[in-house]
């Protein structure tokens, strides 16, 4: 066996083969395309890149994508926590059915979700008609984008928090109650701090997914420039105009947002592992 500082010696076979396959596929499918996008950005140069992003329409689109992702993810953070708590702690008829249904947004293609939500919330749809009487229009407004992103991001917080709630030791709650804490105080000061890392991870995952979401949004959004036009749609529009540089500029801006999200997720996980030993 060869002395190797990069990897520890191991009697297991197949390192070269498995590592080679992994690196080859990873490079062809993910790293080279991402590299091509970043390389295009370098070729364009920072000044021109900034000029292409620095227009009212692009800022409006990026702002809209980020803002609606934030709103939808905050809703999903709160509702996801309630949903996970109810599914783990309470017993009621239909619990397992709802538990299985939570993953529907993962399984249902985004385009299908998009046209279904539009059919529901369009002015002549079931929900659209009812809401119109209250003077609320959902489809073809920013509200519609929120609905689509709430749908897409629903499972993330539930699925990251659920296992942590299952692992909670009831002794902690008993101790807190014995010491005279009211239930609400126990939930706020004992349970919630334990769940915080998982909640933040789920929130960041939902954000990352929602910022870049395209399929479910474009049908319900109305796609009016400066108002309901999301950033990924603007990339598609620039590509259809064969304006590859402008598309790449917006693409790089979105990629930077993705990297920031990924960094946030990793920092949360390192912090949570140090704090309570949970991932």
């Amino acid at each position: 066996m060869r002395a190797n500082t990069w990897r520890s010696p191991s009697p297991m076979p197949g390192f070269g083969l498995s590592f080679g396959i992994m690196l080859a596929v990873l490079s062809i499918v993910v790293l080279l395309p991402i590299g091509a996008l970043l390389g295009r950005g370098i070729a364009i140069g920072p000044a021109d890149l900034w000029d292409m992003v620095n227009s009212r329409r692009v800022w409006a689109a990026l702002g809209l994508s980020f803002r609606s992702a934030l709103v939808a993810s905050i809703f999903n953070l709160v509702f996801g926590l309630i949903l996970a708590w109810v599914l783990v702690r309470y017993r009621f008829w239909g619990r397992r059915f709802i538990d299985a249904a939570v993953d529907l947004p993962f399984a249902l293609p985004t385009a299908v979700a998009g046209i279904a939500l539009t059919a529901l919330y369009a002015p002549n749809g079931v929900f659209g008609q009812a809401l119109a009487q209250l003077g609320i229009q959902v489809a073809y407004t920013e509200l519609g984008i929120w609905m689509a992103l709430i749908f897409i991001g629903l499972p993330f917080v539930v699925r990251t928090v659920q296992p942590v709630i299952e692992e909670l030791e009831s002794e902690l709650e008993e101790a807190s109650a014995t010491l005279g804490a009211a239930r609400i105080y126990t939930l706020r000061r004992v349970i919630l701090p334990t769940l915080t890392p998982a909640l933040l991870t789920g929130f960041a995952l939902a954000m990352a997914r929602s910022v870049g979401e395209y399929g479910s949004v474009i049908f319900i959004a109305g796609n009016i420039p400066n108002l309901t036009e999301i950033a990924p749609l603007l990339i598609v529009i620039r590509l259809e105009e064969y304006n590859y540089d402008a598309a790449a500029a917006i693409g790089i801006a979105m990629l930077l947002i993705s990297f920031a999200m990924l960094l946030a997720i990793n920092i949360i996980q390192i912090w949570s592992r140090r704090r309570i030993g949970l991932v």
Binding site: S18, I82, R89, S258
Partner: protein, 287 residues
Amino acid sequence: MSDTAMTPPLGVTTEPLLARRLLICTVIVLISVLLFAPLIAVFSEALSQGAGAAIQSLASSDARSAIRLTLIVATIAVPLNAAFGIAAAWAITKFDFRGKAFLITLIDLPFSVSPVVAGLALVLLFGANSTFGAWLVAHDLKIVFAFPGIVLATMFVTFPFVARELIPVMIEQGKAEEEAALTLGATGWRAFFTVTLPNIRWALLYGVLLCNARAMGEFGAVAVISGKIRGQTTTMPIMIEMLYNEYLSVAAFSLAAVLALLALLTLILKSVLEWRYSALLAATRRH
């Protein structure tokens, strides 16, 4: 989690009855509005002019070619990603090397990249306006606006699914069993097929299931790279968009209903795996 393993908490470690009922009702109402209503809308819109019209629209040549293309793309992309997932999980869990955490982050990268950005990146790499793309076109190898591009885009967005399911399971199982097999004289391949593969088969199936659902339904990345050439590069989700924009509502929702049925089937199989083989899946999947 099974019902016997955890009895309902009582007394001081639960909320008052009224609060519990209120929370359960909130959950049921919101899940119905947010999840079930759109699902029901797909089927009711598809059947709005009777089952005959829905079936007829699915029999059209456009719909049939879209279904065929989606099936072929999934048949190629999913096994390739499964092979990658197994190789990646083997390299990552059976060996110790530097930079492992960074590698896992790179594998997870497609989860946080917008599908449209993924499509854009592939167009910039393989498109005719790049050096590499021009070379490909000169040698008659079309990737962008053609079948290989759709496969690559599908692989990009479904990239982490199998590896994500296998890595935690293989970490938990360790490598003692494979080492025993090797000590007894088995070759590496024999150890893999008779020891590792049986241990990870349900987790593998779980990952393939999720990978397949996403592969058949991918829209954003494929929309960018496919060029939407009718009858040639239109997968089912792309066809749904085209039909919807042409105000052919029944045709669009019929195709959507087929994908929704596939999604329901995926959820059922996934639940069965979680309930029956929970001990053999990654810890976060055991509920």
